[in-house]
Every structure is written in C-alpha cells, then in structure tokens.
Amino acid sequence: MTSPLERKLRISGPVVVTANRLGDGAVIYRTDGGRWSTRLDQAIVVTTAAAASTLLAGATADGINAVGAYVAPVRQDADGALQPGNLREAIRHAGPTIALPGVI
C-alpha cells in the first residue's frame, strides 16, 4: 500500500489540507504555524502540487492532534469566501444535509 505522502499529488485548483481532530473527530483544517482550525476560512490555501505536498507532510506528521489528513478541493464563491470544493467536503464542513432526529 502506497502511503499518502508517496502518492503523486495531482491538483487542478485551490486546495486545503483537512483531517479529523483526534479527541472528538471534528473536521479540522490546516492553518498557519502548523496549527489546526475548525474554520475553513482560516485554512491555508495552496494551488500547486508541491505546496500541497509540503502542507500535507506537515499535517501528517502531527499524529497527536489530527487523524487521516488529506488534500481537499476548495473554491471561492462570488463574494470571495472559501467554500468546499465538492459535496463530500461540503457535508464535512456543514454537517449532514438532513435535520437530525429530535432537533426541530
């Protein structure tokens, strides 16, 4: 099995590095200074495979705060705000698309 770091990254637009927080599984994004945030708008955005690889390598090395780091696509909306780049990432970012049982 090839490790994520050994696979050649191919990106076709802006990306961020995301993972799940170790303690509670919350969705987190890699930010400046080797930190993590639950806010997508604080994520470092890169646009080249080399930069994405470097960002991912740093994130993967952090085995105590984050689990399963990977590169995810993002896009900018008309207002310039950062948005998830596909449905899976949109659901990770905003939560299930359904009302949770018992929540009115």
């Binding site: 799940n20 509670d24 599984g25 659901i91 299930p96 949770l100």
Partner: protein
C-alpha cells in the same frame, strides 16, 4: 431474553477496561493512529465524516428494556440524542468523542453491551429472525444456535484476522426474515424426511461490489455438528481466501472461483478430522445455553379478546395499524408488534433517546421487558397481550412509532450514506425521506401491497439495494449524485438479485423515477393482490425500463 452469566460480564467489563487504557495511550501520543486503529475497530469504533461512530452489537437482535435505557443514556450523554439501528441488528451512534468513549463503554458494559465483533475482519454480530422464539412458523428458537456460535466465535484467535469480515445469519422459520442467503454463511433449521431437525448450510452469499446469492453446500447437517462444520468453513476460508485484493477477499469470491462443489469438498476434508472432537455439541451443553434464555410466563389467554375486537371495530386508525404492524404469536392471546422506525420524512432506523426510553417503558408494561431489532431497521415488541394492543397503539402513536407502513413502500431500508459515512459516494437518507413524502398516502401504500425499497449510498451496499424490490445505488459522476435503479430483488427464502433497468438517474429525478415504476406496476398488475415482485417476474424489466426512460 438471554441472561448473561459471570463469564460474559467479566469479558465485557475487562474489554472496556482494556479499551480505556488503549484510548489513554492514543490520546497521550504513546500509540500512533496506525497502532490504535485496529484496536478501536475491534471495539466497533470507526472514524466517519464528522466524528467517531460507535457500533454496538445487539446479538440476534434481542435487547432488554434496561439495555434500551442504557442506549438512550449513551445517546443523550455522549452523542446527540439519537441512535441508528442498522441492517445487521446493531445500533450506531454517530457523534461520539474518543475522549469520552471509555466512559460510554463502561456504561454499556454495565448493561452487558459492547462493540466486539462489529468491525474488523472477524465473525461479525450473528443475526437471526427478529421474531425468533415467538414466530408461529418456526420449528425451534434459532437464537440458541446463534448464541452457541457467538460464544465460540467471539474473540476466537484463529478467526480474528480473516481475509475479510464474515457474517453469519440463522433462521428456523419457513419464511426467511434473516436474509440468510445473502450472508457469508446462512444456517436454516429445518426438518428432514425422517423428521429430524438440522441445518441447511448456505455459503458465499453477499452483496457489495460483487453480489452473490449463497449456495447450499450441506442440505442437512445434524445439530450436533453445527459448530465443527462452521469451524471447518471458516478454516477453509482462512486458508484459501484471498488477502492480496480487498475486493476479492470475501468468501463469496472464493466459493464462486472454486465452485460450490469443490468448496464443499475442501470444507468436508477440514471437517472430518474435527467433527467428532470437542466441537461436537453435547446435548447437555446445548440445553445449558438454551437454559440461559428466559421465556415469559404467558397468561392463559384466548385470541381476539373483546377489547381488541371492540377497538378494531370502532377505530379505523387502530384497525389499519393492527392489520399492518401486528402479527400472530405462538402463544394464544398474544401478538408480535412491529414498531416502524420509518415515519414520514424521518431517517430510516433512527430513534431518539426519548423514544428509546419510552419504548423501554412500553416493553416493561406490555412485552415482558423485551425488545427486538430487525434487519429492516424496525423494532419489535415480541410478547404483547392482544387485550393490550389498543393501549399500546395509543402510546406508540403519541411517540411517532405507529406509522402503519411495515413492509410497504415507505418502509425503506437505507444506509447512512454521505450524510455520515466516509465510504459513501452519495446520500441515501434524503432520498428515503423524499420517497416517504411521495408515498405518504397510506391508502395508496396499502393498495400497492408489499414493496420494499432499499437504498445504498455506495457500492458497499449497506442498504442491501441488490435485494430490494426496488433498489437504488448511489454513484458519483463528475461530482454529481446519480442513482442506478434495479428491480425484482428479494432477500428471503427465494432470494434473487435485482436487475438494472438502465442508466443512472440524477438525484433530482430519483423520486420521480420510483413513482414512475410504481405507476407502471399499478397499470401492469393483473389484480390487486399481485405484488410488485410478482408483476416484475411476470412481465420482466422491459415495461418498467420503457416507462422510466421514455421521457428521459
């Protein structure tokens, strides 16, 4: 109910203590994720899209009112106030925090609950008929055999690292409610020509990427031999099953590649040296296990008491629910009641903590404290006195648990899909919710008769779409959600895989497509009691294909 003894309690308690230590070492950084992942999986803990998910086994779908209250407590204290009953008689909590999991495990262990055998390449939770022990059409209680297998295979060192996961289901009824023919091993208790009771052994069934209906490799296996024979099947699989390709690692691929006859010969060669050894079941051992099951002390009651007859005659809503959700029981004067977890617009199989607690109270009041879970993702109160049915219905109605749609078009089986699952490509729950709205008219649903819709959000087929009368499989195309549609599948004793009707349809059209199929059925059926499946068998797929794609 099965009553745990000291051995069971010690095992579960020690496991919870072990897990507490493992979590502490992971949180401190002493264990890496690569080291920790197999440990958490062995306790039923997955990492999903937004959070950790805890899967708890409900062996053979049976749980006590006290266990249900514990599940409610876990939902409220450690999750977001609800749980999801699955197609394999488990419950899943979707928002558990790793740091709190040891406490949750301790609380569960105190009620005899755990996540062992719910993940990893081991023998998973052994499932059976949710009406086991009370169904009039069964020849004996299949839970005894499921329990014997569970005791033998739980943490069995030889079978903890199989090529892939391994699922066993047991039935003892004429009508298969446990879907045994789509399991790795299916066991069907039946009587042979000499009047003896034994097992038909079916192997190599399964859904997922490469679906197969299981093949019978032993038409009649004496009961004393069930443990040794299943052991031989597992050893054969462990030896010959592929480990080089995860997509070809299930036993169904091995059975298909070798052929059922050749596979059976390999099993037999493995079985002969062990069949008369320690695994041959002593009747006293079987009796001891059976003795741990406690059956209610039923009152001497008659069928159709005046209270029931009066309620059926005077309240149309009750009569509708009774006709749909209440089933005959072995004991005169009693009934089996199915609680639909498929309300209009609700996620299939979900129950809130409040509902769980209320169900536990109702089980204490009306069902000798016992509850069952079925693979259709509904609950069952298995021992309700018929005289109490009207009172029970009123209580269930206020809880939103009396939707009279059991077995009907809106009784949809669905996986969690992309709203929760890290494997999914598409969503399942919103599709199910929309379909329940489209078919909210119960008169229409009843006029359609038995019609099962199954939805899977990816090829792993947790929603069993291949065996849905109408099956929907979500596939992703260029970032958009599409759904392949199959019809004609069924999971019972006549199990068959559905047939694809044509190209996948987009998310926005999938409910329309199902409506088109249903309308076509209404036009094609020759009489009102010809169910959808029979119409498909009679006319084939083509008329449905034409209807769906004529204007698309």
């Amino acid at each position: 109910m099965y009553l745990y003894d000291d051995l069971d309690r010690t095992l579960v308690t020690e496991r919870a203590a072990e897990f507490r230590d493992q979590v502490a070492r992971r949180l401190s950084g002493e264990l890496t994720e690569d080291e920790f992942k197999p440990l958490r999986l062995m306790n039923g803990i997955y990492l999903q899209l937004h959070a950790y998910m805890l899967r708890i086994a409900l062996p053979y779908g049976s749980l006590s009112s006290n266990q249900m209250r514990t599940l409610a407590h876990v939902a409220r204290r450690y999750d977001r106030g609800y749980g999801h009953f699955t197609t394999r008689q488990n419950i899943q909590f979707n928002w558990i925090k790793l740091a709190e999991l040891p406490d949750a495990m301790d609380d569960l262990a105190r009620a005899g609950l755990h996540g062992m055998q719910t993940s990893g390449n081991c023998v998973r939770n052994i499932t059976t008929d949710q009406w086991a022990g009370v169904a009039p059409d069964e020849i004996e209680d299949p839970r005894v055999w499921a329990e014997i297998l569970r005791q033998h295979l739980t943490l069995h060192p030889e079978f903890s690292f199989l090529p892939r996961k391994f699922k066993i289901a047991v039935t003892a009824a004429a009508h298969d409610r446990a879907a045994i023919r789509v399991h790795d091993v299916g066991l069907r208790l039946h009587r042979n020509g000499a009047g003896e009771v034994g097992f038909e052994v079916v192997v190599g069934g399964g859904l997922g990427r490469t679906p197969f209906i299981g093949k019978t490799i032993k038409p009649f296996l004496p009961k004393r031999d069930v443990l040794s024979y299943v052991e031989a099947v597992l050893r054969t699989y462990n030896q010959f099953g592929r480990r080089d390709n995860i997509y070809k690692a299930r036993i169904k691929i091995l059975v298909h590649d070798l052929g059922a006859e050749a596979f059976a010969k390999e099993v037999d060669a493995e079985w002969q040296p062990i069949k008369d050894g320690p695994l041959a079941l002593d009747p006293a051992v079987v009796a001891a296990v059976a003795g741990h099951f406690r059956y209610p002390s039923y009152e001497a009651l008659g069928d159709n008491p005046p209270e029931l007859a009066k309620a059926r005659a005077s309240d149309r809503r009750f009569a509708t629910w009774f006709a749909n959700s209440v089933t005959n029981h072995k004991a005169p004067g009693y009934a089996i009641v199915t609680l639909s977890l498929k309300p209009e617009g609700g996620p299939p199989g979900d129950a809130t903590a409040e509902q769980m607690e209320a169900i536990a109270d109702l089980a204490d009041r009306h069902s000798f404290g016992e509850i069952r879970v079925g693979h259709e993702q509904n609950l069952v109160l298995p021992h309700v006195a018929q005289r109490d049915l009207a009172a029970l219905w009123r209580a269930l109605d206020t809880l939103g648990l009396a939707t009279p749609n059991v077995g009907l078009v809106s009784d949809i089986i669905a996986c969690p899909g992309l709203d929760y699952c890290s494997l999914a490509n598409t969503r399942s729950i919103p599709v199910a919710q929309e379909l329940t709205r489209r078919f909210r008219d119960l008169d229409l649903a009843q006029s359609l008769g038995r019609l099962h819709i199954n939805i899977s959000g990816c090829i792993n087929a947790c929603g069993h779409h291949h065996v849905g009368h109408i099956g929907l499989l979500g596939v992703e195309k260029n970032g958009e959600e599409f759904y392949q549609v199959t019809i004609g599948g069924q999971a019972d004793e006549n199990a068959v895989l559905g047939t694809l009707i044509g190209p996948a349809v987009p998310y926005a059209q999938v409910a329309d497509v199902v409506e088109d199929i249903v309308e076509a059925y209404l036009e094609l059926r020759t009489r009102p009691d010809e169910i959808f499946l029979d119409t498909v068998k009679r006319v084939g797929v083509e008329p449905f294909r034409e209807r769906v794609y004529a204007t698309r």
